[in-house]
C-alpha cells in the first residue's frame, strides 16, 4: 500500500490564496508517516485530500499505483480516526465499531468476529455495551481506534487523535498506537502539531509550514540535519538558539566576546544565523573571561535550563547539569559548542553544519 503525492496543491474556491503548494512525497507500505506543523499550515487539509474528503486542486494522488484524485473516500480502502472521535452517540461501543462493516453488508459472523478482535486489541471488551457518553475521553478514543482496526483497511489516517487527552494518557497512547501499527502492519498517516508526538512515533516526518513542505526525513535527521531554521526551531526542547553572527575569516563573530571558529565551510554571506542546540553549549561559571550574564534558571530535576544574555544583548538558552550552582545575574563563560548549524539570514536555509569542539569558543574581550 504505497501512497504517492505528486505536486499536490489546494486552493479553496472562495480565496485566491493557496493553502497547500506542491506537496510531493511517497509514503511506503507499513510506514508510520507523520505530518507535523504549526496550526494553519495545511496539514489537516493534506490529510483530508488523501482521505478524499477535500478535493484536490492540482497535482496527482496515487494509491497503490492507481490515480485516486477522483476516487470517492470509501473506495480508497482506508480508515480514519478523527480528533473528535466522531462516534455515534445512540449506538453502543460494539455497534459503533461494527457499523461500517454492517453497512458494507458483511456476514454477521464476520462482523462479530472483527468487532470482538478489534475491541480486545484496544482493551475495551468489557465496555462493549456502553454508550459513548458513559466512557472517558481515553476510552472514546479507543473506540474510534477499534473502528479503524475493524475496517481492516491497510491505510489508517489519523487527525490529531491524541490532542484531547491529558498528558499522561497521551504518552501511554503514543506507545500503544505505535505498537498497534507495527503489529497490524498498517500504513499510518498521522497529523499532529506536537513535535514530541512526531519525533517519538514516526518512521518519517513531513514538516509543513507556510503552505509548503519544509523537510521530509527521519526524526534523527530532522534533529541533526535540519534543512532550514524553521525545522531546527520546531524540534527539540528547549528550542535551538538562533544567533545572528558576522562572518569573518575562518570565524563566526556572534558578538565581540564570543567567536566560533569555522573549519571547512566556505561562506559567501557576510551575516548568518548560527543554530546551536541548548544542550550543546558548554559553560564555565565565574567572572574571569565571562561573556554572558545569567537571566533566569529553570530547575527541571536532572538538568537546568539557563537563559543568558550575551554581550550584544542576544539571548542564549543553555541546558546544564542541575548540580551546577548557578543563579540569576551570575556571570558565565561560554567555552565552546559541540555542534552548530549555519543558516542564511534571509532565506533561513541551511548553509552548513559543523562539528565543533567543547572548548573552541574564543573569547575576544572581557568587557563584563
Amino acid at each position: 500500500m504505497t501512497i504517492t503525492l505528486n505536486q499536490l496543491s489546494k486552493t479553496y474556491e472562495e480565496s485566491a490564496q493557496p493553502v497547500l503548494k506542491e506537496v510531493s512525497v511517497q509514503i511506503n507500505d507499513g510506514e508510520f508517516f507523520v505530518i507535523v506543523g504549526p496550526s494553519g499550515c495545511g496539514k489537516s487539509t493534506l490529510l483530508r485530500m488523501i482521505a478524499g474528503l477535500t478535493s484536490i486542486s492540482d497535482g496527482k494522488l496515487t494509491i497503490n499505483g492507481k490515480l485516486a484524485n477522483q476516487v470517492p473516500p470509501k473506495d480508497r480502502a482506508l480508515s480514519m480516526v478523527f480528533q473528535s472521535y466522531a462516534l455515534f452517540p445512540f449506538m453502543t461501543v460494539a455497534e459503533n465499531v461494527g457499523f461500517g462493516l454492517k453497512s458494507r453488508k458483511l456476514p454477521s459472523s464476520e462482523i462479530n468476529h472483527r468487532v470482538d478482535d478489534a475491541l480486545a486489541m484496544v482493551n475495551l471488551s468489557d465496555l462493549r455495551d456502553r454508550k459513548p457518553k458513559e466512557l472517558s475521553g481515553g476510552q472514546r478514543q479507543r473506540v474510534a481506534l477499534a473502528r479503524a482496526i475493524a475496517s481492516e483497511a491497510k491505510i489508517c489516517l489519523m487527525d490529531e487523535p491524541l490532542s484531547n487527552l491529558d498528558a499522561q494518557l497521551r504518552a501511554k497512547m503514543r506507545i500503544e498506537l505505535k505498537q498497534l501499527q507495527r503489529n497490524l502492519g498498517l500504513t499510518v498517516i498521522y497529523v499532529t502539531h506536537d513535535q514530541v508526538e512526531a519525533m517519538t512515533m514516526a518512521d518519517r516526518v513531513m514538516v509543513l509550514n507556510d503552505q509548503r513542505v519544509q523537510q521530509i526525513d527521519t526524526p534523527i535527521n530532522l534533529y541533526q540535519r535540519p534543512n532550514n531554521a524553521f525545522v531546527a526551531q520546531f524540534f527539540g526542547t528547549p528550542q535551538i538558539n538562533l544567533l545572528k553572527a558576522n562572518v569573518a575569516e575562518r570565524e563566526l563573530v556572534i558578538d565581540s566576546a564570543l567567536h566560533l571558529p569555522m573549519t571547512k565551510t566556505q561562506i559567501n554571506n557576510s551575516k548568518v544565523l548560527v543554530g546551536i542546540r541548548p544542550a550543546d553549549v558548554r559553560i564555565q561559571i565565574g567572572s574571569r573571561g565571562a561573556n554572558a550574564r545569567v537571566a533566569t534558571v529553570s530547575y527541571l530535576g536532572n538538568q537546568s535550563v539557563i537563559t543568558a544574555v550575551l554581550n550584544d544583548s542576544q539571548t542564549i538558552r543553555i541546558v546544564a547539569d542541575s548540580q551546577l550552582q548557578i543563579a540569576a545575574d551570575d556571570l558565565i563563560k561560554i567555552i565552546g559548542v559541540e555542534d552548530f548549524h549555519i543558516f542564511d539570514i534571509n532565506s533561513q536555509k541551511l548553509i552548513g553544519s559543523q562539528k565543533g569542539d567543547v572548548s573552541d569558543a574564543r573569547v575576544a574581550a572581557t568587557e563584563f
Binding site: K74, A86, L87, F88, F99, S103
Partner: protein
C-alpha cells in the same frame, strides 16, 4: 456572641430569599389557576346533568359519566375521533418523513441553486394558510377530492416549517460524523436512515407532536372540504353537534369536548418523556 455576629447578615438574606421565592410561587399558582380554571370547569361540568348546568349551578347531586355514555351512544363522536386520528396520523408520518428528506437534501447534498431554493421554501412559510385557502380549495375540487380524507391530508404532506426545523437539526450534527460515514462507505440513504434520523430524534419527536396537534386542531380547512360525518374530523364535528341539537344538551357537548381533548393530552404527556436533553452527548469529544 462573637460567632453569631458574622452570621446575622446570612440569616437576613436567606429570609429575604425565601420570602421572594414564596411570592414567586404564589404568583405562579394564581396564574396556573387562571389558565387551568376554565379547563377544569369544563371537565367538571361534563360530569353534571344539563338541567343543573343551565341553572348555572357549580354543584350537582348527580355527578356521573352519563353525559359521556350519551355522547358515545347518540352522536357520531367516535366516528369523528377515528376520522381525526386517521388524518392526523397520516399527516404526521408524511410530514416527518418528507420534511426530513428535504431537509437532508438541503444540508448534505450539494447542488446548484441550493440556497435560492431554500429561500423559496422559506417564503412559502411566510404566507398565512388563510391566504392559500381559495387556490387550494379549487385545486382539491378539480382533483375531485372534496369530502374525502385525501382533501385533508394531501395539502399537508410536507411543510416548510418542518423542513426548516430539521435543516437546523441536521446542521448541528458534527461534520466529522458525515465524514466518518463517507469513509466507511455509507450511501446517502444509509446515512439518512441509520444516523441522521436517530441523531435528530428529539427534533423529529417535536415535529411529530407539532404536526399531529396542528392537524388535530384544524378547523377552517375541514369545514370547507367535508360535508358528511364519514370524513368530518373532531373539531368540526363538535361544532356540528352544537348546531344539530335543537335544545342544546350542554352536558353532552361538554363531555364530547373532553373526549376530543384527551388525545392531545396523551401526546403532550408521552412527548415530554422524549424532550429531555443530553441524548447526543458523547458523539464528539
Amino acid at each position: 456572641m462573637e460567632m453569631s455576629r458574622p452570621n446575622e447578615p446570612t440569616i437576613n438574606t436567606t429570609n429575604i430569599k425565601s420570602a421572594k421565592q414564596l411570592s414567586q410561587y404564589a404568583l405562579l399558582l394564581i396564574l396556573t389557576l387562571l389558565v387551568l380554571g376554565p379547563f377544569l370547569l369544563g371537565l367538571w361540568t361534563s360530569l353534571m346533568p344539563t338541567a343543573d348546568i343551565s341553572k348555572g349551578a357549580l354543584w350537582s347531586k348527580n355527578i356521573s359519566l352519563d353525559n359521556y355514555v350519551t355522547a358515545i351512544k347518540t352522536t357520531p363522536i367516535l366516528r369523528y375521533l377515528l376520522n381525526s386520528l386517521v388524518i392526523s396520523t397520516v399527516t404526521m408520518l408524511f410530514q416527518v418523513l418528507l420534511c426530513s428528506m428535504s431537509a437532508y437534501a438541503f444540508v448534505f447534498l450539494k447542488f446548484k441553486y441550493r440556497k435560492q431554493l431554500f429561500m423559496l421554501f422559506l417564503m412559502t412559510m411566510m404566507l398565512p394558510f388563510e391566504a392559500e385557502v381559495i387556490p387550494n380549495f379549487s385545486t382539491v375540487r378539480s382533483m375531485g377530492l372534496l369530502n374525502h380524507y385525501a382533501a385533508m391530508v394531501i395539502p399537508f404532506l410536507t411543510a416548510a416549517f418542518g423542513t426548516f426545523m430539521l435543516r437546523q437539526a441536521f446542521m448541528q450534527m458534527p461534520t466529522e460524523l458525515k465524514e466518518a460515514a463517507d469513509i466507511e462507505g455509507l450511501s446517502h440513504w444509509q446515512f439518512y436512515w441509520h444516523l441522521a434520523l436517530p441523531y435528530t430524534k428529539v427534533t423529529l419527536m417535536t415535529l411529530a407532536a407539532y404536526s399531529f396537534l396542528s392537524s388535530w386542531n384544524q378547523y377552517l380547512w375541514p369545514m370547507l372540504t367535508t360535508f358528511s360525518d364519514n370524513f368530518r374530523p373532531v373539531q368540526d364535528g363538535l361544532r356540528q353537534l352544537q348546531g344539530q341539537e335543537s335544545f342544546n344538551n350542554w352536558g353532552m357537548i361538554q363531555a364530547s369536548a373532553a373526549i376530543v381533548v384527551i388525545p392531545t393530552l396523551i401526546i403532550l404527556f408521552v412527548g415530554q418523556h422524549y424532550f429531555k436533553a443530553g441524548l447526543n452527548e458523547g458523539a464528539v469529544k
